[in-house]
């Protein structure tokens, strides 16, 4: 069941939410739509579900034009962030809803429905909860029921909107592994929306990073982590340090910066911005160094050093027991050696929130 989305746009009251989405999802794939709030990921999911309608574009699923199908006729399983279980129905009735609501001619018999609900309860590991009401369940149990209700209609596509967003961390990890199993066993095409990178990368075959109504990058964890396609993705992936540099023969140069560990890049000479993660930087103690340490905090394993060169400030992380960490106390001066980083051409003159306007592909930042 492949899903082809073409040139899709959507705006609410004149505010563009989707600015031209092109995306193809293969049958049986587990895809994550990852992005900050406001990136349009939930809107895209709801359009696929038929709960929202785009202003323009195409949505073809397995050769059928879904923009001419009502949500009821798409046969999708949709799982809501806050479960949306029917509060006056027992767990069994909730799961059976999609079957019992069918027109009489297509409705399976009572015994068939009951057997199917039993199988699903077993499969979802909630067999003992069948007669309870949603209010009597924990968040994790509710989300299992919600998934069971969606699976009962044997959906062509399974769509999950921040499925674990309202759960605490331990339950979340648990359900994540379990969802992967469910996906593998049912063989459905699954798309889920999240703003949690860890969740997206751990669970999905492919991750679609969205920002400001556009797809910024599609790939797996390593690709997106090591080669962010845009400054937006770099920032979203945790590159909080942005250093203005000058490109010379493909190498980023700046005072106090040792770029020897960075590979040469085939980019034209000129001003550029180097994006670094706090953990990818090694401080080199140097009494005449460019940066001065202002604060030093430890969480036991990692040290965080706050640095300033008088004009900008940022933090770097390093293992507390690393040899380089010795003597790095507030007041000491250091130079920096990036171990990995990403360079985007173009100067950076504004703070990150507003700076995004200068980069191509971005109209404004969040």
């Amino acid at each position: 069941m492949s899903i082809v989305i073409e040139h899709m746009t959507k705006s609410f009251d004149g505010t563009a939410v989707l600015r031209g989405i092109d995306l193809t999802i293969e049958s049986g794939e587990l895809v994550a739509l990852l992005g900050p709030s406001g990136s349009g990921k939930t809107t895209l999911l709801k359009i696929i579900a038929g709960l929202e309608w785009p202003n323009s574009g195409g949505l073809v699923v397995h050769g059928a034009d879904w923009l001419h199908l009502a949500a009821q006729d798409r046969r999708i399983g949709f799982v809501f962030q806050h479960y949306a279980l029917f509060p006056h129905m027992s767990v069994r009735d909730n799961i059976a809803f999609g079957l019992t609501v069918r027109p009489r001619a297509q409705r399976p018999g009572k015994a068939v429905i009951a057997a199917k609900v039993d199988r699903l309860l077993e499969f979802l590991q909630i067999a003992h909860l069948g007669d309870r009401y949603p209010a009597q369940l924990s968040g994790g149990q509710r989300q299992r029921v919600a998934l069971g209700r969606a699976l009962a209609i044997e959906p062509t596509v399974l769509l999950l909107d921040e499925p674990f967003g309202a759960l605490d961390a331990a339950v979340r990890r648990d359900l994540r592994a379990w969802l992967r199993e469910v996906h593998d066993e049912t063989g459905s095409t699954t798309i889920f929306v999240t703003h949690d990178q860890e969740e997206a990368f751990e669970l999905a075959d492919r991750v679609v990073v969205m920002g400001e109504g556009r797809i910024e990058q599609i790939g797996n964890a390593d690709q997106i982590h090591d080669h962010p396609a845009s400054p937006f993705v770099a920032r979203f992936m945790g590159a909080t340090i942005e250093l203005p540099v000058t490109l010379q023969a493909g190498r980023a140069e700046a005072p106090g910066l040792d770029s020897s560990r960075l590979p040469r890049r085939a980019l034209p000479d000129g001003p550029a911005t180097l994006f670094l993660r706090p953990a990818d930087v090694t401080p080199l103690a140097d009494p005449a160094g460019r940066w001065q340490i202002t604060h030093r905090t430890s969480n036991g394993a990692l040290l965080r050093l706050d640095l300033t060169d008088g004009t900008s400030r940022f933090g770097i992380d390093l293992p507390r027991r690393a040899p380089e960490a010795q003597g790095l106390v507030p007041g000491a001066r250091v130079n920096l050696r990036p171990e990995a980083g990403t360079i985007f051409p173009g100067p950076r003159t504004l703070p990150p929130q507003a700076a995004a306007t200068e980069f191509p592909r971005k109209e404004k930042s969040l």
Binding site: L51, Q72, F97
Partner: protein, 281 residues
């Protein structure tokens, strides 16, 4: 050991508990409880045989029948119209919505006698609505229809205001979930929306019925008050009082009180049963 000599008194966070509770209880006793108790005591003086004779007198029975019939008709009408009204006020956005919403409170605020007089003027044979209706052979003023009309007018807000907050709180995701599961609009209403609002709807309708039973001001102007035809129970009690027949008045009033209490208990029971499965989501 010695520290336990003085008992520890837990401090309340909000001050003035005794004072505010005491005032409230006093108020409830003076304004609500004592009149009700007095009525019951007055009724008890009558004695069962005499009480039964008063209540089963043909004129009393006729008045009770008129009251119950008209109140039932008004309640059925209001149940459906009130549901529609609450639906429109919560589900759609249109110009003047807030004004319409505010208008819903007029029957609460308007003196019922004023309502009765204006309804009579409107629906009398030469009134704005009455003239064409009379032409069509429908007479409302001085008929049971008039009684129903007056009761409908004064009790509609009870239904609307009971359903409205429940409908507003209904999570739209529930209906969306039902949609994705293949439910058509009518099935969504019947299986998802209706069960959610049913307790409030029934409770609101019950209160509307109770209110209609006791409606006096609006009804007496439009009903014509013909004994055995359009005379309501509350009016009959009033007439008995005017005739210095205190026992007769008290007996009729007791019957009305009893029905009202049963209805209130019913309304609370409905709400309570509904709340069992529906604690905070």
């Amino acid at each position: 050991m010695s520290a336990a000599a003085a008992p520890i008194r837990a401090k309340r966070v909000l001050p003035g508990f005794s004072l505010s509770l005491g005032t409230t209880l006093l108020y409830v006793a003076l304004v609500i409880l004592i009149p009700v108790v007095a009525l019951v005591l007055k009724g008890a003086e009558i004695g069962p045989a005499r009480f039964w004779a008063i209540v089963t007198a043909p004129r009393t029975l006729a008045a009770l029948r008129v009251t119950l019939t008209a109140a039932a008709a008004a309640t059925v009408f209001n149940a459906f119209y009130g549901l529609l009204m609450a639906w429109v006020l919560t589900r759609y956005d249109f110009p003047g919505k807030r004004i319409l919403d505010a208008l819903m409170d007029i029957p609460f605020a308007l003196p019922t006698a004023v309502a009765g007089i204006s309804l009579t003027a409107l629906y009398s044979a030469n009134g704005w609505f009455g003239a064409p209706l009379t032409g069509a052979g429908i007479e409302l003023v001085y008929t049971l229809g008039g009684v129903i009309l007056a009761m409908t007018f004064t009790s509609i807000p009870f239904v609307v205001r009971a359903i409205q907050p429940v409908l507003e709180d209904l999570d739209p995701a529930l209906e969306q979930a039902a949609m994705t599961l293949g439910a058509r609009p009518f099935a969504i209403f019947r299986r998802v929306v209706l069960p959610a609002i049913l307790p409030a709807w029934l409770a609101g309708s019950t209160v509307a019925f109770a209110r209609s039973l006791g409606e006096f001001g609006a009804v007496v102007f439009i009903a014509g008050n013909l004994p055995f035809k359009t005379e309501i129970a509350a009016l009959l009690a009033f007439i008995r009082l005017e005739e210095y027949d205190y026992q007769g008045a008290a007996a009729i009033a007791l019957v009305l009180l009893l029905i009202a209490l049963i209805l209130l208990a019913l309304s609370n029971l409905i709400q309570f049963r509904a709340a069992r499965h529906l604690e905070a989501r």
